[in-house]
Symmetry: C2
Amino acid sequence: MYRTHTNGELRIEHVNKTVTLAGWVQKTRNKGFMIWVDLRDRYGITQLIFDEERTSPEVMEIAASLGREYVIQVTGQVIERESKNPAMPTGDIEILVSDLQILNESLTPPFTIENETDGGEDLRMKYRYLDIRRKPVRQNLVFRHKVTMAVRNYLSEKDFVEVETPYLIKSTPEGARDFVVPSRMNEGQFYALPQSPQTFKQLLMVGGMDKYFQIVKCFRDEDLRADRQPEFTQIDCEMAFVEQEDILQMFEGLTRHLLEEINGVTVTDFPRMTYDEAMRRYGNDKPDIRFGMEFGELNEVAQHKDFNVFNSAELVVGIAVPNGNTYSRKEIDALIDWVKRPQIGAMGMVYVRCNEDGSYKSSVDKFYDQQDLARWAEKTNAKPGDLICVLSGDVHKTRTQLSALRMHLAQELGLRKADEFAPLWVTDFPLLEWDEETSRYHAMHHPFTSPKPGQLELLESNPGAVKANAYDLVLNGNEIGGGSIRIYDKKVQAKMFDYLGFSKEEAKAQFGFLMDAFEYGAPPHGGIAFGLDRLVAILGGQETIRDFIAFPKNNAGRDVMIDAPAKIDESQLKELHLKLNIENQ
Amino acid sequence: MYRTHTNGELRIEHVNKTVTLAGWVQKTRNKGFMIWVDLRDRYGITQLIFDEERTSPEVMEIAASLGREYVIQVTGQVIERESKNPAMPTGDIEILVSDLQILNESLTPPFTIENETDGGEDLRMKYRYLDIRRKPVRQNLVFRHKVTMAVRNYLSEKDFVEVETPYLIKSTPEGARDFVVPSRMNEGQFYALPQSPQTFKQLLMVGGMDKYFQIVKCFRDEDLRADRQPEFTQIDCEMAFVEQEDILQMFEGLTRHLLEEINGVTVTDFPRMTYDEAMRRYGNDKPDIRFGMEFGELNEVAQHKDFNVFNSAELVVGIAVPNGNTYSRKEIDALIDWVKRPQIGAMGMVYVRCNEDGSYKSSVDKFYDQQDLARWAEKTNAKPGDLICVLSGDVHKTRTQLSALRMHLAQELGLRKADEFAPLWVTDFPLLEWDEETSRYHAMHHPFTSPKPGQLELLESNPGAVKANAYDLVLNGNEIGGGSIRIYDKKVQAKMFDYLGFSKEEAKAQFGFLMDAFEYGAPPHGGIAFGLDRLVAILGGQETIRDFIAFPKNNAGRDVMIDAPAKIDESQLKELHLKLNIENQ
């Protein structure tokens, strides 16, 4: 036994006890006649004291030789500290060491093992095992564990069964790119790693499992954007004999439970909003509703004068920035520059200062009088002292631009508070989404999503207008989950594949097993999947998922610590019936 | 809402309630004026009754049209049954149906959805979604879920943190063959799927996580034997600042907890045995100790006469078969044939009948007198009425053969009872194992396993004798877990790699990150991994893991339901910088 206690548990009531502790040397202070060592493990830090009057010269000598991150084991007596440290749970006591053993030495770490480290991202990733010794990183991983335990226990209580679905499955060209796995035993053939267990969970519903969940790794070979990982974790769920309302209720329950159990927050409001409404009010299908700044559509009150920019626009829309009238001209110009950046892409921005005396001063005073501007203020809900920002143009683009501005301003104004939680269901998503590249409609969610009752008929005449039984769960402006009620009628499913441009043969080759299964009594069913990495980050009050993953990959999909991916032996390739196909080799 | 209740919950106290149920038609009995339907879901079966006096003609007509496995929804009144069925939890009541809707039709399934089905293995696997509707399969999956929840809750209680380690890692030629994943973004490079999270869990210990576990999929591209899967699930665990005793205690606790919580069995004995002892007493490093038939070594009492077969043998060893004297000559000949089968490979078998009167009759009476045979009986602990079976030859082979015979006989004699549980630790495994093929010693467990204190020195002089801090957890004759105390000293680890034939460069290329980590204060650590598939099967009183996996692969590593692996598009190959390397293409 290496220790009698951890470094986080000794208190004043342990005084006089003889204890054995083990851990890492966080830091040492050597006054010659006295040496203090902070001993660290996962559970905390305990102060050790070596004192030439009470400690043997041999032990003093070893203590003097200790370096940062040495692994040591000590035995000693718990004594009361002369100067207590109320900031530390163990701050009332220290250990007067009688015996000290060095279990392992350490080189000086490449960055400090402190809450605020001097190590940059790259160095921290390369030495992730040292980074994990830092309290914030370790706490994130423990936090993640707490969240998954809470999810599992909640869903188990509700009769969900966690079923493991296979990782070595079949590649389907639809959707994102698959990672594939060459089969040695089946020459010229490949498995694919799942992008999600979608078809398997539907098969489990056909199989009568009734309520399924799984916390499961999924894989997508996409060109990585910031904060995307090639492997990511989902909380995947499916229920049979349900309508949309049953799913929303169940997972509203889960979300409330998590916020209560993990964050100690009781959510009173759990609003719902259709996709159309979310787009109209926030220009965004995952609006952050912790703060106002709702969109005011101004076409009606801005398209009656000679301002051609507005008159020719599909949409004129504004938001009121609380107390924005305090912005200097320079600050407003900076905002205008911000929306004109290529990432946002607005052509310009009109603004209206709402003075405290009730008058207005705008950048378009040439075209609009005080009465006009008062009506803008009314539409955007602007108060005296606010600033109205107005964008115009194509409906979708303008909304997206103004939404970006709204989020940017909210961040700057400190309106996105990490400890405030506002969940929201967004429902009635469009079934299809226009793809510029292929000039075709694609399934917005996936091809198994059912259209809203009675809307299937619109598929031919007005495909963009067809709404789906699809919903997203939004938390603080992030999509944390999304799902749908599935098609369970084989004729509807066949029609959908047909509409999406699958030939009968393609549909059969890729989803034949699902179509077959639907011949044998598929129940009505639907589900949802949560992105665990993001969910955990948001519950943890952060938005960077990488900080909640033990061993993340970088933006090139590399694990810089183990240096993967890497070359493999020629013999391995040969066994897999493969040759490299590389130019300039 | 599709239902007010499930098909497993209605009881006599619900009589007169109006309820809505949904599920699958298990069977129908149509007497014309009355129709009974057994309605099934995951939770049970409820009997529906349609009666021409009380049910509308329209509903009667639909009821008459129902086929097996149709999905229906009914509304009706709970009534008391005239003839109750005490074998069914819902057997006191039935539902007098007033409204019936067919939610989905079904083709006639290719096999019966009954506890005992008429479907063969192949058909069941192809239509696994129908197989899962069968109660035994469904119950196995629910059982598996219960086991994993119990494991997770127990370990969480004990301060273990579940940490997800990556699936896209780096190929290491050591050990079994890796599945690899070509990287599109890193030309000519490959990820590998983990055979286990071994190095990552050790890095987590270096990182101070202290207690880690994970229920995790692992992958091995081996030629499949019966009941092996290319993807399998482990309960992977690791602890820092522990000695072997700490690990044995902790996971003895887990095992006791599972047997108690899952099987309602309190284990009183939890014996330990060294590898050497297990081999001597049972010829097996995972002995089933639920029954006796321990080995009796007979060299001393059988090598003093003219029987050359024994005199020239390294080992003469026997077991006493309880009441085996009742075997006919024909039955004994069948046993002899059984051990001479190529799979077992014995040259022959000597037997001794122990008569009720205390006399002996053996197949070697020419060489041995009654007194000799009495000493054999003493060594094998044979009683009057038993049969002694004796094999001889090379120590290791003979033990293996006799162990196979022991298990075979125990199975036949019904001594391997599914509801009886006998766990056992086997400790002190050899560090190295001789590999005939490469004529070299290999790590028996893996190259990170530490030798027993003071034994490292034997590596050069007598490598086969070096014992490791390695242990297996055995349950009912199956290895359900195995682990070791790891090397945490970088010099010892380097020496081990060196001994195992890794050049410095190879060791660095494959395990450099671990060697690096060991430079920065690695704590003493060790762990264990359980094979979840097997653990669940054994707790479930069965030995075939495939019955506890939702979507297993066949012996050629194929998923016959989804037909994977499969060919992929030429364009996919090209993106991955690969060409097929197939003869006769």
